[in-house]
Symmetry: C2
């Protein structure tokens, strides 16, 4: 491959000249598959959007309600090389509302990020955060967790609201069954998700402006996943496809088994997004199954809770062993925290309850997730992904930072 490998000191998209193996696109959005690792199913590619080009595999930081939690600002995202940011339809629907965001020029401009964005459909959070959510074949009616007002969300509304946000990628409205749901419940959710996808495809605005990803459900039942991936991925109007309903409480080996099973049946020429996943271990395993896109709140949530991710495993900053430890979190890391401050200072700020403590850790964690994806991409392009990911997973388990 002629691709320049990305490195920790140059967190930008690598230039690309050779013809892609496969690809698809419509208007501003396009996906190109550049290489499939000879050692694994891992894929390197890129997503093209009106706001920039995103090398894949990519991890999307979560900007829940117009900002990444913990004080991370747009310039921090650019500095760490984040390619695409996720916004939550549910939170932004309640406050400040899609009309306000549209009036402000769309979510990317409103938040100051001005880069590629993906929005979810809101369904997942309605079921987990909305009060008294009543779901039917039509859609869902719920009460705002903020002021109790009644809100209706369905396929058409999810398209209308997301198009007002103006992301580069929007997600179909789906029903995500909880872990442990019975087969009948899962099948109802699958049926609704398929029907709602067709309504989304009918309701969306002119194709080519905002890409639409369909979502595959099916719980942890391989046969149901096969059935649903066939249904969903038959919808040619979708620019990409996602796997939903994983990492909702099931055992990790089950997540991996179902992810591998489902991804293997998804089209080669479109992006594959595993929703809400996950830990560094999850990312490395699922990139190996051919996933291109991830999102998760873990790096920011763990930063705020005093935990740092490292290539030598997780590090709990409040541990008294760090009281007089003048080393950075990770010697080899290029993030602003590791370039500037010590574990000792971070522990002190954490114990003192200073916002800067959680912010430094969040900046490190988000950088670490971007760095993982950069190194993964390089390994894929060099046909050594299975080796690299196995070695990296082994190293993470040693806790060599001790």
């Amino acid at each position: 491959m002629s691709d320049q490998p990305t490195t920790s000191t140059a967190p930008a998209a690598s230039p690309r000249t050779a013809a892609p193996l496969a690809g698809s696109g419509h208007g501003d959005y396009g996906f190109e598959l550049h290489h499939v690792c000879a050692e694994s199913g891992a894929r390197a590619g890129q997503i093209r959007t009106a706001h920039g080009v995103v090398p894949t595999p990519t991890f999307m930081p979560v900007g829940t309600q117009g900002a990444i939690k913990g004080g991370v600002l747009p310039r921090d995202l650019r500095e760490m090389g984040a390619g695409i940011v996720l916004g939550n339809t549910y939170h932004l629907l309640l406050r400040p509302g899609p009309e306000r965001i549209a009036e402000a020029g769309g979510l990317a401009r409103f938040t100051g990020w001005n880069g590629p964005m993906l929005t979810d459909s809101g369904g997942f959070q309605v079921f987990s955060l909305g009060h008294q959510a009543k779901i039917s074949d039509d859609g869902v009616v719920f009460r705002s967790h903020i002021d109790g007002r009644k809100i209706r969300l369905d396929a058409e509304e999810a398209m209308r609201v997301q198009e007002l946000y103006g992301p580069d990628i929007m997600m179909a409205f789906d029903q995500c069954p909880p872990a442990g749901a019975e087969a009948r419940f899962i099948e109802t959710a699958m049926r609704r998700t398929t029907a709602w996808l067709d309504r989304c495809l009918a309701a969306r605005g002119r194709r080519g402006e905002v890409a639409l990803y369909g979502i595959v459900q099916g719980g942890i039942n391989a046969a149901l996943r096969t059935r649903h991936v066939e249904e969903i991925c038959a919808r040619d109007g979708c620019e990409g496809f996602a796997i939903g309903g994983l990492s909702v409480g099931e055992a990790t080996d089950v997540t991996y088994e179902i992810c591998a099973h489902t991804a293997a049946q998804m089209p080669q020429d479109k992006a594959r997004y595993l929703m809400g996943v996950g830990t560094p271990e999850d990312l490395l395993n699922c990139v190996g199954f051919g996933i291109d896109q991830f999102d998760c709140v873990l790096p920011s949530r763990n930063g705020r809770h005093g935990n740092a991710y490292t290539f030598d495993g997780p590090l709990r900053i409040k541990n008294s062993r760090f009281t007089a430890d003048d080393r950075p979190i990770e010697a080899e890391c290029g993030c602003p925290a590791c370039a500037t401050v010590s574990r000792s200072l971070l522990r002190h700020l954490w114990m003192a309850g200073e916002v800067a403590g959680g912010l430094w850790l969040t900046l490190h964690n988000l950088w670490f997730f971007q760095e993982l994806m950069r190194q993964a991409r390089t390994a894929i392009l060099e046909d050594r992904y299975a080796t690299w990911s196995r070695q990296t997973l082994e190293r993470m388990a040693t806790k060599a930072w001790r």
Copy 2:
């Protein structure tokens, strides 16, 4: 004057070639008075330290316990052109302790700021935050507000602790009487402050490494201030002098009267630091009386509490008038918040309780205070400080941001 005026787009120290009007220094520390405004008593100069040169007048952001509150990081301070940062002896004494900070290479290195620093003596905060503070001619014994352990602080300990922090400027141990204290109480505090200054001068390490500023007390009694400024400023071993005990609850016109009265009697050739002051209005007035250095928690505290300072007066971001206001806080401002986000987004983040909301506002406020000092310095060098400050104060009162 041949000085280059500082501007909002070049927040660096202006180069200086002409000979100073007056100055003093020892070792790494030096103060040079460059110009006294022909229209007022306002002074432009610079403080030289081992960690960098600080143009004066200067406002020092407060890094209470190893970080500026609200998530402001060292690079933010550099970006806004902050010259010197204040650290609080009391907080750092309790946690992580001066020995740890010394072992980590001193406070500037430990915190990642790596620039000029000033530390206070801890006295002021012992009286306001320490439990059961018992003060005598010897010093003060108090209990930590964190774990209740008994701690002793006196002149010798204040020198020992601050020298372990390794700032560029340390403050003498003083007693600051509260607003409304009786003359007898104030006189006792003055007597102790003078005696403690002599003990500080005797206890400090080799002169030339860390500068020591003496502190003038005397409450709001002009005669007592005259007496104490004569006593304190007679101590030639001090590299600079501060006015303490103002802005502790007295009326603003009294603050200004006592500040003007005291500053006028302080030596020309040494820096004059007005401790714990203040609002933009306070800064503009007191620069006019010949003050060179300020510190205050107001810009960061107000940022965290949703208030922005502007040249058109203060702006309360939660006000519903900003719901759909897509303008930046201040159109003319060069801060990262005004370059990136709108009042509408800031109000939304504020209402949503996002850390980023308070952080953006704090970054703006701290930038605004630096910008005020830059514009003040330019006006002084151009002999139009009285005109500029009067016009600026009038504009601040109009609330033209409406």
